[in-house]
């Protein structure tokens, strides 16, 4: 693999061809915030939190999908970017009803952590206070739309890793909702295998295990890379 050199935050950094800016930055311990990104899943580029400034580009570029290239000059934490990230997380907090004090994920939530890291102490925009329903019709799991940030991790993992494609998106814009099968209660879904992958990958408390109470839901994400690694090895063995 060819080696390339690029500059991140005025520091010359070596990288391998094919790596994304995010990969390179994380390897060097530069913390670019992300939400929809999850290693092992196809990128969506929807949360826009990983935007970085690239010399010569009129607009910031998403680090999760932009491949590192020779001679790139990248800034990851300019004042403008930090402000944009704050506004984006504020928009997410304002969009649905994220009440941490009654959330199963309190203390283990990626959105909460992001907000704390960015120093968000208040939201400057109107809370939309959408009164969304909750789907607790599945035996072991439940879905609370009020905590969903539409990162689509559940949709992607169900489709690409579990192969069930139970989850999809209904509607558009601010009325988008995650739906099971063709918009039926999750409990009635015939494609869902109850594997719980979506629940473990959900960054907030939108998908959770029934019976968990406030702050009790701790998610385990390591399984994704274990599965993918074993599949990769199995594929290698088959081709050999």
């Amino acid at each position: 693999m060819a080696a390339i050199t690029l500059t991140i935050n005025n520091e010359l950094i070596g990288a391998r061809q094919g790596q994304t800016i995010l990969d390179v930055a994380r390897e060097r311990g530069i913390d670019i915030p992300t939400l929809c990104h999850l290693e092992g899943l196809e990128e969506v580029g929807g949360c826009r939190l990983c935007l970085v400034e690239l010399q010569g580009s009129p607009r910031p570029v998403p680090a999760c999908v932009t491949k590192a290239a020779e001679g790139m000059e990248i800034t990851t934490h300019s004042d403008k970017l930090v402000e944009y990230r704050k506004m984006l997380v504020e928009l997410l907090l304002a969009e649905r009803t994220h009440t941490c004090s009654i959330c199963v994920q309190n203390g283990n939530c990626e959105l909460q952590t992001l907000a704390a890291k960015l120093g968000i102490d208040h939201v400057r925009f109107d809370y939309l206070h959408q009164q969304l329903p909750m789907d607790a019709s599945r035996e072991r799991f439940a879905l609370d739309h009020n905590r969903c940030v539409l990162c689509l991790r559940c949709v992607r993992v169900c489709d690409a890793v579990e192969g069930a494609h139970t989850w999809d998106v209904r509607g558009r814009g601010s009325t988008s909702r995650i739906v099971a099968d063709l918009d039926r209660p999750w409990g009635g879904s015939t494609s869902c295998t109850d594997c719980g992958k979506c629940v473990q990958l959900c960054p907030t408390g939108a998908l959770f295990r029934k019976g968990a109470t406030v702050g009790e839901m701790i998610k385990e994400r390591g399984f994704l890379n274990r599965i993918l690694e074993r599949r990769r090895l199995a594929a290698q063995r088959r081709s050999a």
């Binding site: 990128e43 969506v44 580029g45 929807g46 949360c47 826009r48 935007l51 607009r59 910031p60 998403p62 999908v65 403008k80 402000e83 944009y84 506004m87 984006l88 928009l91 997410l92 304002a94 969009e95 400057r124 925009f125 109107d126 939309l128 940030v149 539409l150 999809d168 998106v169 509607g171 558009r172 814009g173 601010s174 009325t175 988008s176």
Partner: protein, 572 residues
């Protein structure tokens, strides 16, 4: 059909038309149909039947002739005499005109449009050259006006890379709004290696107030097919798709018929014009999402997926439909192609201004006297469009702003009326060329309200994939609503600007990135109106109701009420 047969057919059509002592062209575009064009056609048909349907009298139901607010329009052609046009034609008037023409008497002057009417004389019609002059359902009439000649010429005389460089030399740029040089795009796709390539025409026109693409598809469908076939030959594609907006059933039907006729005549399908080039075109109908006008969303929609944009690169030229190299252009861009090869790329690039060459079709609407579809050379000033072609504002009202580019564009104020209209200038003014909607507004329009209207449109049409567009549009709409109902504070105005800048920089696709343009451009040119709303709680245009108090004034009002109740001697 081969080239010789094509030329022979064209000549025979022209010869037949030349012996006509009277040709009646009734505009059957959608606005004219709504105004009663059908009754005129029926009356004229009966009259001709009464006369025994003589071969030297011809009645043609054409597509859009232009001045849409004045329909139904009737154009009369007689050999050796200037062409005359009547507006607001009734069946009686039409019959009187025919009667007089047959008796060689002077034609009625009532409702006749002057021959030197600037609406027509100031236009340069290349894309719309055939619109309103042919029956869109007739392949013969299109061929009679030189149709498919450019395709034949390209297939026989030129190599594919010569065609691409011809388009480069013409200086044509994308007419969908972005303004990317069309020739460069063609060269990119031409250079790509791939077992299959595709050509896609974007007819998913969704801007409020814009109808250029619909008119073109309805009035001259073969022009788009010819442009696409030339593109297919140039880039090496054998399959084309036209993505037509779901709300345009007539356009889809006419295109379908046109494809069928062209295939039957050997102008599309296998071995086009007896050459080794094959090209098929299929129609895809949209399902009512504005975002599908964005190229990656449109391609996803054609492939049967959810119509959502994806991050570029890779651009469609590299990986488009089913990951094959795909050329995607607006239908108006394809409409320019036959003209380029008819008059020559150099002659085409002689028209225009700066880096914008050729002409642009605009849908002129709003408070202007002459509403309608116009085609003007690039570089014409907005003043000429609004006051010469458009005839100024109705009732002599004063001009306030022109909105170009729909929800992705911006408002241009009276001070900028003399700027030549081209891609760069409009962008510098904070607007965009866009697909070509041009809405003229007078003093009674409130610019905050206008911005709110467009933001409401964007919030409805956001696909929901990226956060800034999905939630940003809702929050901007709420802030604008607060300004309009009088409850906004200076802090809200500040948040509005922050949010607009953030959205512009961070949104995933063009819809979100351009959605703040109406707000930012009105903030730039009409900031005083925003300030009047916020600081003086007053709408200068008298549109907004201003019925709610800002929070910081509520206490004051409460104190006043307490004081009033005390002086009355009553308890609060």
């Amino acid at each position: 059909m081969n080239w010789v047969e094509l030329v022979e057919l064209a000549e025979s059509v022209v010869a037949r038309q030349q012996v006509c002592r009277l040709r009646l062209l009734v505009c059957c575009g959608t606005p004219c149909m709504a105004a009663g064009a059908e009754a005129v056609v029926v009356a004229l048909k009966e009259k001709l039947a009464e006369l025994g349907d003589p071969a030297d009298l011809e009645l043609v139901s054409t597509g859009c002739q232009g001045p849409c607010s004045r329909g139904p329009l009737l154009t009369v052609q007689r050999p050796g005499q200037p062409e005359l046009i009547w507006q607001k034609t009734t069946p009686e008037l039409a019959l009187a005109i025919v009667e007089a023409a047959l008796q060689q008497e002077p034609l009625p002057e009532q409702d006749r449009l002057p021959e030197d009417w600037p609406f027509f004389t100031r236009q340069t019609r290349l894309v719309l050259a055939n619109s309103g002059r042919i029956d869109p359902e007739s392949l013969e009439q299109y061929i009679g006006l030189g149709g498919y000649d450019s395709l034949a010429q390209v297939l026989i005389d030129m190599a594919p890379d010569e065609v691409c460089s011809g388009v480069v030399r013409s200086g044509l740029r994308g007419r969908g709004g972005g303004g990317y040089p069309t020739g460069l795009k063609w060269q990119l796709v031409h250079k790509e290696n791939g077992p299959r390539k595709f050509v896609v025409a974007n007819g998913d026109e969704g801007d409020p107030g814009a109808y250029m693409d619909r008119s073109l598809m309805e009035s001259d469908p073969h022009r788009i097919l010819e442009g696409m076939a030339i593109a297919g030959y140039a880039v090496g594609a054998e399959q084309g798709y036209i993505y037509v907006r779901g709300e345009y059933p007539l356009a889809a039907q006419r295109l379908r018929n046109a494809i069928k006729d062209a295939e039957k005549a050997g102008l599309l399908g296998s071995r086009v014009l007896d050459s080794s080039f094959s090209f098929r075109i299929d129609i895809r109908i949209g399902a009512g999402a504005f975002v599908c006008g964005e190229e990656t969303a449109l391609l996803a929609s054609i492939m049967g997926k959810r119509g959502q944009p994806r991050i570029r690169p890779p651009y469609p030229a590299e990986a488009g439909l089913w990951d094959c190299p795909t050329l995607i252009n607006n239908v108006e861009t394809f409409g320019n192609i036959p003209s380029i090869f008819k008059i020559g790329p150099e002659a085409f690039s002689a028209i225009g201004h700066g880096k914008s060459r050729g002409t642009k079709v605009f849908a002129l609407c709003g408070e202007v006297v002459n509403n309608g579809l116009i085609e003007v050379p690039m570089g014409i000033s907005l003043r000429e469009i609004v006051f010469d072609i458009g005839g100024g504002l109705a009732n002599g009202a004063a001009f306030k702003a022109a909105q170009t580019g729909g929800p992705s564009g911006g408002c241009i104020s009276a001070g900028q009326l003399d700027t030549p209209v081209d891609y760069e200038n409009l962008q510098a003014l904070g607007s965009i060329m866009g697909s070509g909607g041009l809405i003229v507004m007078g003093q009674q329009s409130c610019m905050v309200d206008v911005a709110r209207f467009f933001m409401e449109f964007c919030l409805d049409e956001s696909c929901g994939k990226c956060v800034p567009c999905r939630t940003g549009t809702v929050e901007i709409y709420r802030l604008l609503s607060r300004i309009c109902n009088g409850s906004a504070t200076n802090r809200d105005l500040q948040h509005l600007e922050q949010l607009c800048r953030m959205m512009k920089d961070t949104s995933l696709c063009g819809l979100g990135a351009a959605a703040p343009n109406p707000v930012l451009s009105t903030l730039r040119w009409f900031r005083h109106e925003y300030e009047a709303h916020v600081e003086e709680r007053r709408c200068p245009a008298g549109v907004c109701s201003m019925h709610e108090l800002p929070v910081h004034l509520l206490g004051e009002q409460l104190l006043q009420r307490i004081a009033a109740s005390r002086s009355d001697g009553e308890g609060f």
